[in-house]
Amino acid sequence: MLEEKPKELNLEDPSRLALMTLLTWGTRCSFFLCLTGLVVMTWTAPPVSVGELPTIGDCELACWKTPGAAIILAGIISLIMVSAGRLILTTIMYLKAGDKVFSLLSIFALVLVLSSTLFAFFGW
Protein backbone atom coordinates (compact mmCIF):
# COMPACT_ATOMS: atom_id res chain seq x y z
CA MET A 1 0.00 0.00 0.00
CA LEU A 2 1.36 3.44 -0.88
CA GLU A 3 2.42 5.77 1.90
CA GLU A 4 1.14 9.04 0.52
CA LYS A 5 0.21 12.12 2.45
CA PRO A 6 -3.06 13.63 1.25
CA LYS A 7 -2.75 16.67 -0.95
CA GLU A 8 -2.92 19.74 1.28
CA LEU A 9 -6.32 21.39 1.24
CA ASN A 10 -5.90 25.11 0.75
CA LEU A 11 -9.00 26.83 2.06
CA GLU A 12 -7.69 30.21 0.87
CA ASP A 13 -7.31 29.12 -2.75
CA PRO A 14 -8.90 31.84 -5.00
CA SER A 15 -10.96 29.26 -6.91
CA ARG A 16 -12.35 27.87 -3.65
CA LEU A 17 -13.19 31.38 -2.45
CA ALA A 18 -14.84 32.06 -5.82
CA LEU A 19 -16.88 28.89 -5.32
CA MET A 20 -18.10 30.08 -1.91
CA THR A 21 -18.97 33.50 -3.34
CA LEU A 22 -20.85 31.91 -6.26
CA LEU A 23 -22.87 29.74 -3.87
CA THR A 24 -23.68 32.56 -1.44
CA TRP A 25 -24.63 35.26 -3.92
CA GLY A 26 -25.99 32.96 -6.62
CA THR A 27 -28.55 31.41 -4.28
CA ARG A 28 -29.54 34.80 -2.84
CA CYS A 29 -30.08 36.16 -6.36
CA SER A 30 -32.18 33.11 -7.33
CA PHE A 31 -34.24 33.35 -4.16
CA PHE A 32 -35.00 37.04 -4.72
CA LEU A 33 -35.95 36.46 -8.35
CA CYS A 34 -38.37 33.69 -7.33
CA LEU A 35 -39.75 35.86 -4.52
CA THR A 36 -40.25 38.82 -6.86
CA GLY A 37 -41.98 36.61 -9.41
CA LEU A 38 -44.20 35.23 -6.68
CA VAL A 39 -45.20 38.71 -5.50
CA VAL A 40 -45.99 39.81 -9.08
CA MET A 41 -48.00 36.62 -9.58
CA THR A 42 -49.95 37.15 -6.37
CA TRP A 43 -50.91 40.71 -7.27
CA THR A 44 -51.57 40.45 -11.00
CA ALA A 45 -52.25 36.87 -12.11
CA PRO A 46 -55.78 35.41 -12.22
CA PRO A 47 -56.54 33.46 -9.03
CA VAL A 48 -56.17 29.68 -8.99
CA SER A 49 -58.13 27.55 -6.54
CA VAL A 50 -56.88 24.36 -4.83
CA GLY A 51 -59.48 22.41 -6.84
CA GLU A 52 -57.73 23.41 -10.08
CA LEU A 53 -54.37 21.92 -9.03
CA PRO A 54 -54.95 18.42 -10.52
CA THR A 55 -55.28 19.97 -14.01
CA ILE A 56 -52.78 22.79 -13.52
CA GLY A 57 -50.26 21.21 -15.90
CA ASP A 58 -52.65 21.32 -18.88
CA CYS A 59 -51.67 24.88 -19.86
CA GLU A 60 -48.16 23.72 -21.05
CA LEU A 61 -46.30 26.63 -22.69
CA ALA A 62 -49.09 29.06 -21.79
CA CYS A 63 -48.27 28.55 -18.07
CA TRP A 64 -45.18 30.66 -18.53
CA LYS A 65 -47.16 33.63 -19.92
CA THR A 66 -48.74 34.18 -16.49
CA PRO A 67 -47.54 37.49 -14.96
CA GLY A 68 -44.52 36.81 -12.75
CA ALA A 69 -43.82 33.41 -14.31
CA ALA A 70 -40.94 34.68 -16.45
CA ILE A 71 -39.23 36.13 -13.35
CA ILE A 72 -39.66 32.81 -11.53
CA LEU A 73 -38.22 31.02 -14.57
CA ALA A 74 -35.21 33.35 -14.45
CA GLY A 75 -34.76 32.48 -10.77
CA ILE A 76 -34.95 28.74 -11.42
CA ILE A 77 -32.56 28.85 -14.36
CA SER A 78 -30.07 30.93 -12.35
CA LEU A 79 -30.26 28.32 -9.57
CA ILE A 80 -29.47 25.52 -12.03
CA MET A 81 -26.66 27.57 -13.59
CA VAL A 82 -25.11 28.28 -10.17
CA SER A 83 -25.07 24.54 -9.51
CA ALA A 84 -23.52 23.82 -12.89
CA GLY A 85 -21.20 26.83 -12.52
CA ARG A 86 -19.50 25.10 -9.59
CA LEU A 87 -18.13 22.60 -12.10
CA ILE A 88 -16.59 25.39 -14.19
CA LEU A 89 -14.80 26.69 -11.10
CA THR A 90 -13.62 23.22 -10.07
CA THR A 91 -12.30 22.72 -13.63
CA ILE A 92 -10.27 25.93 -13.29
CA MET A 93 -9.16 24.93 -9.80
CA TYR A 94 -7.80 21.58 -10.95
CA LEU A 95 -6.24 23.00 -14.13
CA LYS A 96 -4.34 25.53 -12.01
CA ALA A 97 -3.20 22.68 -9.74
CA GLY A 98 -2.04 20.71 -12.79
CA ASP A 99 -4.58 17.95 -12.19
CA LYS A 100 -5.73 17.02 -15.71
CA VAL A 101 -7.74 13.97 -14.58
CA PHE A 102 -10.05 15.89 -12.27
CA SER A 103 -10.34 18.89 -14.56
CA LEU A 104 -11.54 16.50 -17.29
CA LEU A 105 -13.94 14.81 -14.85
CA SER A 106 -15.35 18.24 -13.91
CA ILE A 107 -15.90 19.09 -17.58
CA PHE A 108 -17.52 15.69 -18.18
CA ALA A 109 -19.87 16.22 -15.22
CA LEU A 110 -20.76 19.67 -16.60
CA VAL A 111 -21.52 18.15 -20.02
CA LEU A 112 -23.80 15.58 -18.33
CA VAL A 113 -25.71 18.32 -16.47
CA LEU A 114 -26.17 20.41 -19.61
CA SER A 115 -27.09 17.38 -21.75
CA SER A 116 -30.35 17.13 -19.82
CA THR A 117 -31.60 19.98 -22.05
CA LEU A 118 -31.74 17.36 -24.82
CA PHE A 119 -34.94 16.12 -23.17
CA ALA A 120 -36.58 19.09 -24.90
CA PHE A 121 -36.69 16.90 -28.01
CA PHE A 122 -39.02 14.53 -26.11
CA GLY A 123 -41.17 17.23 -24.52
CA TRP A 124 -43.27 20.25 -25.50
Binding site: P6, L9, M20, V48, V50, G68, I76, A84, R86, L112
Partner: protein
Protein backbone atom coordinates in the same frame (compact mmCIF):
# COMPACT_ATOMS: atom_id res chain seq x y z
CA UNK B 1 -53.87 33.76 -3.91
CA UNK B 2 -54.58 30.89 -1.49
CA UNK B 3 -52.79 28.25 -3.56
CA UNK B 4 -49.50 30.17 -3.50
CA UNK B 5 -49.74 30.69 0.26
CA UNK B 6 -50.49 26.99 0.88
CA UNK B 7 -47.53 25.94 -1.27
CA UNK B 8 -45.19 28.39 0.48
CA UNK B 9 -46.31 27.13 3.91
CA UNK B 10 -46.00 23.46 2.94
CA UNK B 11 -42.53 24.06 1.49
CA UNK B 12 -41.52 26.09 4.54
CA UNK B 13 -42.51 23.16 6.77
CA UNK B 14 -40.63 20.74 4.52
CA UNK B 15 -37.47 22.86 4.65
CA UNK B 16 -37.76 23.40 8.41
CA UNK B 17 -38.34 19.73 9.28
CA UNK B 18 -35.79 18.61 6.69
CA UNK B 19 -33.01 20.59 8.38
CA UNK B 20 -33.95 19.41 11.87
CA UNK B 21 -34.21 15.72 10.97
CA UNK B 22 -31.45 15.52 8.34
CA UNK B 23 -33.87 14.21 5.74
CA UNK B 24 -34.36 16.11 2.51
CA UNK B 25 -37.37 18.33 1.85
CA UNK B 26 -38.44 16.29 -1.17
CA UNK B 27 -39.49 13.34 0.97
CA UNK B 28 -41.97 15.57 2.80
CA UNK B 29 -42.94 17.80 -0.09
CA UNK B 30 -43.89 15.24 -2.73
CA UNK B 31 -46.29 13.13 -0.59
CA UNK B 32 -48.07 16.31 0.54
CA UNK B 33 -48.30 17.72 -2.98
CA UNK B 34 -49.41 14.44 -4.55
CA UNK B 35 -51.37 12.88 -1.68
CA UNK B 36 -53.14 15.94 -0.24
CA UNK B 37 -53.09 18.69 -2.85
CA UNK B 38 -53.58 16.27 -5.77
CA UNK B 39 -50.87 17.90 -7.87
CA UNK B 40 -49.80 15.67 -10.79
CA UNK B 41 -46.78 13.65 -9.68
CA UNK B 42 -44.41 14.85 -12.43
CA UNK B 43 -45.09 18.50 -11.61
CA UNK B 44 -44.47 17.76 -7.91
CA UNK B 45 -41.20 15.97 -8.76
CA UNK B 46 -39.99 18.86 -10.90
CA UNK B 47 -40.78 21.43 -8.19
CA UNK B 48 -39.13 19.24 -5.55
CA UNK B 49 -35.94 18.99 -7.63
CA UNK B 50 -35.68 22.77 -7.85
CA UNK B 51 -36.11 23.00 -4.08
CA UNK B 52 -33.45 20.30 -3.51
CA UNK B 53 -31.07 22.31 -5.69
CA UNK B 54 -31.84 25.46 -3.69
CA UNK B 55 -31.35 23.67 -0.39
CA UNK B 56 -28.08 22.11 -1.50
CA UNK B 57 -26.62 25.41 -2.69
CA UNK B 58 -27.70 27.43 0.32
CA UNK B 59 -25.84 25.13 2.72
CA UNK B 60 -22.87 24.62 0.41
CA UNK B 61 -20.86 27.70 1.25
CA UNK B 62 -20.67 26.88 4.95
CA UNK B 63 -19.46 23.35 4.24
CA UNK B 64 -16.74 24.68 1.94
CA UNK B 65 -15.61 27.08 4.65
CA UNK B 66 -14.77 24.22 7.02
CA UNK B 67 -13.22 22.05 4.32
CA UNK B 68 -15.88 19.40 4.96
CA UNK B 69 -16.61 18.86 1.26
CA UNK B 70 -14.33 16.36 -0.41
CA UNK B 71 -14.71 17.94 -3.85
CA UNK B 72 -12.58 15.35 -5.68
CA UNK B 73 -14.71 12.53 -4.29
CA UNK B 74 -17.93 14.44 -5.01
CA UNK B 75 -17.00 14.96 -8.66
CA UNK B 76 -15.91 11.35 -9.09
CA UNK B 77 -19.12 9.96 -7.55
CA UNK B 78 -21.25 12.49 -9.43
CA UNK B 79 -20.36 11.02 -12.81
CA UNK B 80 -22.23 7.77 -12.14
CA UNK B 81 -24.99 9.63 -10.27
CA UNK B 82 -25.55 12.07 -13.14
CA UNK B 83 -25.76 9.35 -15.79
CA UNK B 84 -28.28 7.49 -13.61
CA UNK B 85 -30.22 10.75 -13.05
CA UNK B 86 -30.81 11.15 -16.75
CA UNK B 87 -31.88 7.50 -16.97
CA UNK B 88 -34.22 8.12 -14.03
CA UNK B 89 -35.94 11.05 -15.77
CA UNK B 90 -36.44 8.94 -18.87
CA UNK B 91 -37.83 6.06 -16.79
CA UNK B 92 -40.26 8.31 -14.93
CA UNK B 93 -41.84 9.38 -18.23
CA UNK B 94 -41.95 5.81 -19.53
CA UNK B 95 -43.43 4.07 -16.45
CA UNK B 96 -46.02 6.74 -15.67
CA UNK B 97 -47.32 8.45 -12.54
CA UNK B 98 -48.86 5.45 -10.78
CA UNK B 99 -45.67 3.37 -10.79
CA UNK B 100 -43.59 6.40 -9.74
CA UNK B 101 -45.95 7.01 -6.80
CA UNK B 102 -45.69 3.34 -5.77
CA UNK B 103 -41.88 3.43 -5.93
CA UNK B 104 -41.95 6.64 -3.88
CA UNK B 105 -43.96 4.88 -1.16
CA UNK B 106 -41.28 2.16 -1.04
CA UNK B 107 -38.58 4.79 -0.86
CA UNK B 108 -40.25 6.36 2.18
CA UNK B 109 -40.08 2.95 3.89
CA UNK B 110 -36.39 2.74 3.01
CA UNK B 111 -35.85 6.21 4.48
CA UNK B 112 -37.56 5.14 7.73
CA UNK B 113 -35.27 2.10 7.91
CA UNK B 114 -32.15 4.22 7.30
CA UNK B 115 -33.22 6.70 9.99
CA UNK B 116 -33.85 3.87 12.45
CA UNK B 117 -30.41 2.37 11.90
CA UNK B 118 -28.79 5.65 12.83
CA UNK B 119 -25.14 6.51 12.37
CA UNK B 120 -22.00 6.29 14.39
CA UNK B 121 -18.93 8.29 13.53
CA UNK B 122 -16.00 6.02 12.71
CA UNK B 123 -13.50 6.65 9.94
CA UNK B 124 -10.24 5.18 8.67
CA UNK B 125 -6.71 6.43 8.84
CA UNK B 126 -5.17 7.81 5.64
CA UNK B 127 -2.62 5.00 5.46
CA UNK B 128 -5.42 2.39 5.40
CA UNK B 129 -7.02 3.90 2.29
CA UNK B 130 -7.98 2.03 -0.85
CA UNK B 131 -5.03 2.02 -3.37
CA UNK B 132 -7.26 3.69 -5.98
CA UNK B 133 -8.24 6.36 -3.47
CA UNK B 134 -4.56 7.06 -2.80
CA UNK B 135 -3.77 7.18 -6.51
CA UNK B 136 -6.59 9.70 -7.09
CA UNK B 137 -5.59 11.61 -3.94
CA UNK B 138 -9.01 11.28 -2.37
CA UNK B 139 -7.97 11.12 1.31
CA UNK B 140 -8.07 14.56 2.83
CA UNK B 141 -8.65 16.50 6.03
CA UNK B 142 -11.39 18.65 7.50
CA UNK B 143 -12.00 20.91 10.49
CA UNK B 144 -14.68 19.28 12.65
CA UNK B 145 -15.02 21.90 15.36
CA UNK B 146 -14.39 25.53 16.24
CA UNK B 147 -10.92 24.84 17.68
CA UNK B 148 -9.66 24.82 14.09
CA UNK B 149 -7.75 21.55 14.42
CA UNK B 150 -7.45 19.52 11.23
CA UNK B 151 -8.43 15.86 11.25
CA UNK B 152 -7.13 13.62 8.46
CA UNK B 153 -9.20 10.75 7.08
CA UNK B 154 -8.80 7.99 4.53
CA UNK B 155 -11.16 6.59 1.90
CA UNK B 156 -12.06 2.92 1.31
CA UNK B 157 -13.86 0.88 -1.42
CA UNK B 158 -14.09 3.55 -4.11
CA UNK B 159 -15.30 1.35 -6.97
CA UNK B 160 -18.29 -0.25 -5.14
CA UNK B 161 -19.29 3.22 -3.88
CA UNK B 162 -19.29 4.63 -7.43
CA UNK B 163 -21.68 1.84 -8.44
CA UNK B 164 -24.04 2.33 -5.49
CA UNK B 165 -24.11 6.11 -6.02
CA UNK B 166 -25.87 5.49 -9.31
CA UNK B 167 -28.99 4.57 -7.27
CA UNK B 168 -28.89 7.98 -5.62
CA UNK B 169 -28.85 9.60 -9.04
CA UNK B 170 -31.66 7.32 -10.20
CA UNK B 171 -33.81 8.39 -7.24
CA UNK B 172 -33.24 12.04 -8.12
CA UNK B 173 -34.33 11.61 -11.70
CA UNK B 174 -37.17 9.19 -11.06
CA UNK B 175 -38.58 10.40 -7.74
CA UNK B 176 -37.49 14.03 -7.37
CA UNK B 177 -35.52 13.56 -4.15
CA UNK B 178 -31.94 14.51 -3.43
CA UNK B 179 -30.66 10.98 -2.88
CA UNK B 180 -29.01 11.86 0.42
CA UNK B 181 -30.67 8.89 2.12
CA UNK B 182 -28.48 6.65 -0.10
CA UNK B 183 -25.40 8.87 -0.43
CA UNK B 184 -24.76 9.54 3.25
CA UNK B 185 -24.98 5.89 4.41
CA UNK B 186 -22.74 4.84 1.48
CA UNK B 187 -20.11 7.44 2.35
CA UNK B 188 -20.42 6.59 6.02
CA UNK B 189 -20.36 2.77 5.81
CA UNK B 190 -18.64 1.93 2.50
CA UNK B 191 -16.16 4.77 2.03
CA UNK B 192 -15.78 5.16 5.81
CA UNK B 193 -15.77 8.95 5.78
CA UNK B 194 -16.41 11.07 8.88
CA UNK B 195 -20.11 11.95 9.25
CA UNK B 196 -19.60 15.68 8.64
CA UNK B 197 -17.65 14.99 5.46
CA UNK B 198 -20.33 12.49 4.32
CA UNK B 199 -23.10 15.04 4.84
CA UNK B 200 -21.20 17.91 3.22
CA UNK B 201 -19.99 15.89 0.23
CA UNK B 202 -23.47 14.43 -0.29
CA UNK B 203 -24.86 17.97 -0.21
CA UNK B 204 -22.46 18.99 -3.01
CA UNK B 205 -23.41 15.98 -5.14
CA UNK B 206 -27.13 16.38 -4.52
CA UNK B 207 -27.09 19.86 -6.01
CA UNK B 208 -25.65 18.52 -9.27
CA UNK B 209 -28.06 15.57 -9.67
CA UNK B 210 -31.06 17.70 -8.74
CA UNK B 211 -30.02 20.51 -11.09
CA UNK B 212 -29.59 18.10 -14.00
CA UNK B 213 -32.95 16.47 -13.31
CA UNK B 214 -34.68 19.86 -12.85
CA UNK B 215 -33.28 21.00 -16.19
CA UNK B 216 -34.54 17.79 -17.80
CA UNK B 217 -38.05 18.26 -16.37
CA UNK B 218 -38.02 21.90 -17.48
CA UNK B 219 -37.10 20.75 -20.99
CA UNK B 220 -39.92 18.18 -20.84
CA UNK B 221 -42.44 20.87 -19.88
CA UNK B 222 -43.12 19.51 -16.35
CA UNK B 223 -41.83 22.52 -14.41
CA UNK B 224 -44.80 24.74 -13.54
CA UNK B 225 -44.10 28.31 -12.26
CA UNK B 226 -47.12 28.32 -9.94
CA UNK B 227 -45.77 25.25 -8.12
CA UNK B 228 -42.00 25.63 -8.44
CA UNK B 229 -41.86 29.33 -7.50
CA UNK B 230 -43.55 29.08 -4.07
CA UNK B 231 -41.68 25.83 -3.39
CA UNK B 232 -38.25 27.46 -3.81
CA UNK B 233 -39.19 30.42 -1.63
CA UNK B 234 -40.76 28.26 1.08
CA UNK B 235 -37.94 25.69 1.25
CA UNK B 236 -35.27 28.41 1.32
CA UNK B 237 -36.94 30.25 4.22
CA UNK B 238 -37.83 27.05 6.08
CA UNK B 239 -34.32 25.65 5.98
CA UNK B 240 -32.84 28.98 7.13
CA UNK B 241 -35.20 29.18 10.10
CA UNK B 242 -34.67 25.49 10.84
CA UNK B 243 -30.90 25.89 10.87
CA UNK B 244 -31.23 28.76 13.33
CA UNK B 245 -33.60 26.89 15.64
CA UNK B 246 -31.88 23.47 15.44
CA UNK B 247 -29.42 23.91 18.34
CA UNK B 248 -32.34 24.57 20.72
CA UNK B 249 -34.43 21.54 19.81
CA UNK B 250 -34.00 17.97 21.06
CA UNK B 251 -33.64 16.22 17.72
CA UNK B 252 -34.31 12.77 19.24
CA UNK B 253 -37.99 13.56 20.02
CA UNK B 254 -38.42 15.28 16.68
CA UNK B 255 -37.00 12.23 14.94
CA UNK B 256 -39.73 9.97 16.39
CA UNK B 257 -42.43 12.48 15.45
CA UNK B 258 -41.02 12.67 11.96
CA UNK B 259 -40.90 8.90 11.59
CA UNK B 260 -44.60 8.77 12.48
CA UNK B 261 -45.30 11.47 9.92
CA UNK B 262 -43.39 9.53 7.26
CA UNK B 263 -45.46 6.40 7.99
CA UNK B 264 -48.68 8.38 7.52
CA UNK B 265 -47.38 9.81 4.24
CA UNK B 266 -46.36 6.37 3.05
CA UNK B 267 -49.86 5.06 3.77
CA UNK B 268 -51.33 8.02 1.89
CA UNK B 269 -49.21 7.30 -1.19
CA UNK B 270 -50.22 3.63 -1.10
CA UNK B 271 -53.92 4.56 -0.93
CA UNK B 272 -53.40 6.93 -3.87
CA UNK B 273 -51.80 4.14 -5.91
CA UNK B 274 -54.67 1.75 -5.13
CA UNK B 275 -57.34 4.33 -5.97
CA UNK B 276 -55.44 5.72 -9.00
CA UNK B 277 -57.57 7.24 -11.76
Amino acid sequence: MEVLLILVLVSFAAGFIGVLTGVGGGIILIPVMVGILDIPVHLAIAASLVSVTANSLSGGSQFLRTGSVNIRLAILMSISALIATLVGVLLSKVVGGRVVTAIFALMILLTIWVMFKGRKDSFVDVKDSDPLALKLRLPSWYIPSTDGLKVEYGVLKVVPAIGIMAFAGLSAGLLGVGGGFIQVPVMDRVLKLPIKVSTATSNFMMGLSAAAAALAYLALGDLHPLIAGPTVVGIFLGSRVGAGVAPRIHSKHLRWLFLGLLLVMCAQMIVKVILWK
